[in-house]
Amino acid sequence: MTRATLIFAMLLAIAIPLSLLAGRVWIDLETTPNAALILAELRLPRAVLAVVIGGGLGAAGAAMQGYLRNPLADPGLFGIAPGAALGAVLAIYFGTASTVLLTGSALAGACGAMALLALIAGRTANPAHGIALFTLAGMMIASLAGALTSLAISLAPNAFAMSSIVVWLMGALTDRSWDDVTLAAPLTLAGVLVLWRAGRALDALTLGEEAARSLGVNPRALMGMMVLGTGLTVGSGVAVAGIIGFVGLIVPHLVRPLTDKRPSSLIVPSALAGALLVLVADVLCRILPLVTELRLGIALSLIGAPFFLWLLLRMRRGLT
């Protein structure tokens, strides 16, 4: 177990029980009425779901940054989460009531967006152009998926459907149950395992695609693992909680200084750190004294956007 894995595992082990107690109403196990019921049916599934979704997004962000050799890569910014959202919204638009179908549609959207991005990534001849090209390509995919989602919303059959889609898209863990955990957890775990298995190939990509191939990496197999891994982690997360952005961008940057900086060393600690970030952010959303609870997706965007700007400024300083 690496130092980063140990640190984030310990922090998570401390944060999970604390998060169960925190909220608009702080739970005192001895005095709060129905404390056990609230914990078992409301707080615990919410905490587990935060860990699952954050873990998936953190691992997906670390793997994407390694695969695209781009420190700005993020499942939200690069169109994977918007692709998943488009899939889910289309499922809602066409009137499916099945959670499984909605999840499948979100997974297909995420996989499709990642496959498109990977195809563009595979066609870059000059690595010096890579970061700008992938960033722009990712943002194009995100814009396209966003525009199509907006189109689906604007064509929604009624105001209630429109409102429910918009609120869902904002991303939140409010009122989630064990059913959502049961749906998302196995898919996310499978996705993290696939991304973890891709670690060696991602390490080889540190030297560029040509050198990676000379080291025995099969680019098609790696692309397949990336499409499957990010599709499962991001797609299942979006299906149960909407778009929760910037986790995959922020987390690898927090974890990287604690590792040897190889992409493979980043995936498991990024999953743990992502779980921690989403868990803590969700607790903050619950305890902030606002009229209504702050949506988790909005809260993380408020943190993530300035972080993205800081990264850009730091990279600009590095380039000049």
Binding site: P127, D203, E210, A211, S214, L215, G216, D260, P263
Partner: protein, 245 residues
């Protein structure tokens, strides 16, 4: 293990980049691939490493078509050093060198230590790659290839960005590898380095192999005049010859 090109042709869109290249490269030799810009030198090296698929012909390593080999088996036998010195993440020198063990799926501590020693990187092994000079980084990238202990070392212009001292240091390491039984194939622009340090030279022009032999034969003034369009002659003794124009 001999590495051979059997009538290898490579086509990019409508252009024939390599035209029926036929050669047998021997382990224990340093073979230089020379030629003017656009002659197909890097493409030939990529074809030898199975990084481009020939339109016709095949590359054979000890009676086995490299295109049919498992990628990991091929990678264990053929180490490839690309022209690009790209290192996407700021890993330490030691971790960079350890990437050479990926095809072996082992930690390879002894091999990594040996490669670091061969390239004189002991004092730098914990340094992040971003803090290295161009020459140090080139040595670290070569050590990455050596850590895999491949039978064949293929390097695309490995000396291009180096000063004379670093060029000679890297050639010394490659000579030691060849003397130990590995095959070394280098794409070289500097004809003097090819003349003085290679055992054999292949000269390409417009995708065709126009000369193949000892440096004296393959880099004769006639070949240089036909290949590069430059009137030149060699002066000095074998091993320390200079080209004058």
């Amino acid at each position: 293990m001999m590495l051979s090109c059997e009538s290898v042709s490579v086509q990019r869109e409508s252009t024939l980049v390599l035209d029926q290249i036929e050669c047998q490269l021997m382990p224990g030799d340093i073979t230089a691939i020379c030629g003017p810009n656009g002659a197909g030198k890097s493409t030939l090296l990529s074809a030898l490493a199975n990084l481009v698929t020939p339109a016709a012909g095949s590359v054979v390593l000890s009676d086995r078509d490299v295109a049919q080999m498992h990628p990991l088996t091929r990678a264990r036998n053929i180490g490839y050093l690309p022209q690009s010195a790209e290192v996407a993440w700021d890993v330490s020198v030691r971790n960079l060198v350890s990437l050479g063990r990926l095809p072996h799926r082992d930690a390879g501590e002894a091999e990594i230590r040996q490669a670091i020693g061969l390239c004189d990187l002991e004092a730098l092994q914990d340094r992040p790659v971003s803090t290295l000079s161009g020459g140090e980084k080139a040595r670290a990238l070569l050590a990455r290839v050596l850590a895999g202990q491949p039978q064949w070392i293929l390097a695309d212009e490995p000396l291009a960005a180096l000063d004379i001292a670093h060029q000679l240091a890297m050639l010394k390491v490659l000579r030691e590898e060849a003397d130990a039984g590995s095959g070394v194939v280098l794409v070289l622009h500097d004809l003097s380095l090819a003349m003085n340090y290679a055992d054999r030279v292949l000269v390409l022009r417009e995708g065709k192999l126009v000369a193949d032999g000892t440096p004296e034969a393959a880099l004769s003034p006639e070949v240089i005049a036909n290949g590069w369009g430059v009137e030149a002659k060699w002066i000095g003794e074998p091993g320390s010859r200079a080209l004058i124009y």
